[in-house]
Symmetry: C2
Subunit: 329 residues, 2 copies
């Protein structure tokens, strides 16, 4: 900037004003400065500008990871969420910083905000870290979490209506005459526990006994899904349907069943969750509970913007819908 000022024969103040389009500066000077800047490939230093203005246009997206398995992001739904957020954040004129933090040290996420790295945080992956998230909210860190709404919650969540999703899937299976429905997922996770609540409710409505042995715990990975299915088959517990907590898990289950000669949907009906793009191309095309990823991304950003504006957005529940295809008919 000093260089431009020297070359243009004006002061840095004038250059600054010219570049920001201030009306106080002579049009001719403006033009001269603009040209000089272009020819020197000069761009304003955002860090310095931010410092001076005490401002910032960066939103951080935090993805916690388990220090134990240190597994990387691979679930298609999460990945799509990243894509959706990239678009939504860009569209709102913000920059997007991606940060992975140790799930046991979520408070580190606060430093991104408190250190001025970003003006707000979107966290994907609520897992079991309710208390840590509450701590963040109490510290007044502007944070919006993708996940389930829980009692005693001080932070803002955006998530799909998991109870409804659980009901939709279960009702559909029951209405097709299935009664031994395996619930496939990890109900320790808030979102999954809500889906399980929906599942239980529908069973109760239809006076179908809830069987603990039909609950199969599995994390959101292919590996975990394979193992869980293996256990289930080995146990010889009879079942005629599976409600899987993600499409990835549903596809894993269907593949596994197929290699055992069990036919989907004839022997076992399967319903997934998420409606990732590939689900419609799977064979058989997957019946699933749709969470709209586009809406999710936009809503998360909107909620965060509100929060940063000093308002207190209430937790948001996005509608889910059942997409009936061929794995359940």
């Amino acid at each position: 900037m000093v260089d431009i000022a020297r070359l243009a024969g004006v002061s840095t103040s004038t250059v600054s004003r010219a570049l920001s389009g201030s009306s106080l500066v002579n049009d001719e000077t403006k033009k001269r400065v603009a040209e000089l800047a272009r020819s020197l490939n000069y761009t304003i230093n955002i860090g310095a500008q931010n410092l001076r203005l005490s401002q910032n246009r960066t939103i951080a997206v935090v993805i916690p990871y388990d220090a134990a398995n240190r597994q990387h992001v691979s679930d298609p739904f999460f990945l799509s969420m990243l894509g959706s957020l990239a678009d939504a954040i860009t569209d709102c004129g913000y920059d997007m910083l991606i940060s992975r933090v140790d799930a046991d040290r979520l408070d580190e996420a606060a430093q991104i905000y408190e250190g001025g790295r970003a003006i707000g945080i979107i966290l994907i992956g609520q897992w079991q870290h309710h208390d840590q998230l509450n701590d963040l909210a109490v510290r007044r860190v502007p944070i919006v979490v993708w996940g389930a709404q829980l009692p005693q919650q001080y932070y803002c969540t955006v998530g799909s209506n998991n109870v409804e999703g659980g009901k939709l899937a279960t009702e559909h299976l029951v209405s097709h005459g299935r009664s031994r429905i395996v619930f496939f997922g990890d109900r320790q996770l808030p979102e999954v526990s809500h889906r399980y609540a929906g599942y239980m409710q529908i069973l109760e409505n239809h006076h179908i006994p809830l069987r603990e042995e039909l609950y199969v715990s599995s994390a959101f990975t292919v590996e975990s899904g394979k193992q869980a299915l293996h256990q289930l088959l080995k146990s010889k517990i009879p079942f005629d349907a599976v409600f899987a907590c993600s499409d990835l898990l549903a596809m894993t289950v269907i593949s596994g069943l197929r290699t055992e000669g069990i036919h989907v949907p004839h022997d076992v009906a399967v319903v997934g969750y998420d409606d990732i793009e590939l689900s419609q191309h799977f064979h058989p095309p997957l019946t699933t509970v749709k969470q709209s990823i586009d809406v999710a991304g936009r809503t998360l950003v909107e909620a965060l913007v509100e929060l940063m504006a000093g308002k207190a957005p209430s937790p948001l529940l996005l509608p889910t819908s059942l997409i009936v295809r061929s794995t359940s008919a």
Copy 2:
């Protein structure tokens, strides 16, 4: 920082030194400062620190978008790349900024660097923007591009060996007795054109005539794939195999063929490209050319780090391998 200094009864310099673990400061003072900082939830302001030290630990990942279709990131391979980069960048101790820029204004990417927003750029999506990328390199912007190595190239690329990939797929199909192999993709794109070159070469080796009508142009989207397949089927051109330029496209093709009563692999063999996670769970499990996403992410980051260190890393070609499953047997 001023506050802490006042409360600790020392100067800001001492606080700064204490916080950075300088050996010049009394252990007792250090402890006092550290405690104060913790209790106030104080974190150093990275922006100011960067400004003062003229440093920066941020790497930008740029994803160009077509202003025309403004379609968002949705290809599973790209998305996985994002995940892989997030891990690789984090592991190297850098922050990751995601930025979408208009594909026709790639020079805007330079501002991310020149404006001090990031110290280096990884660009995913070379498309047809060879010249713009060269301009960036000439401007000495540290940039590494995921894509194909082209003649007259001044920027550094990392990409899989697309010629080899094309050969692998085609050789495999030919060796299974297929001779009317549809090439499914957009050969305007550098990476795809290399795959096409490999495809042509193998046909020539086997004295199989190259037929222009077996080239089917399709972008990397489901929609585009559906349409292209529709055109192909309508044209009644006979074919006994398809080499699709992404797994997503391959799955789209297989679904489309199935609804027409065409059996894969009996009537038509299909080979995809990428080996995304879902390919093994597809039915039938997809034969495909694997690009290792983990290696890709790490390699991109390594190349960029070298580049930033002032070295001139040569374009890198990652090996590909054929994963034979059931769509081609």
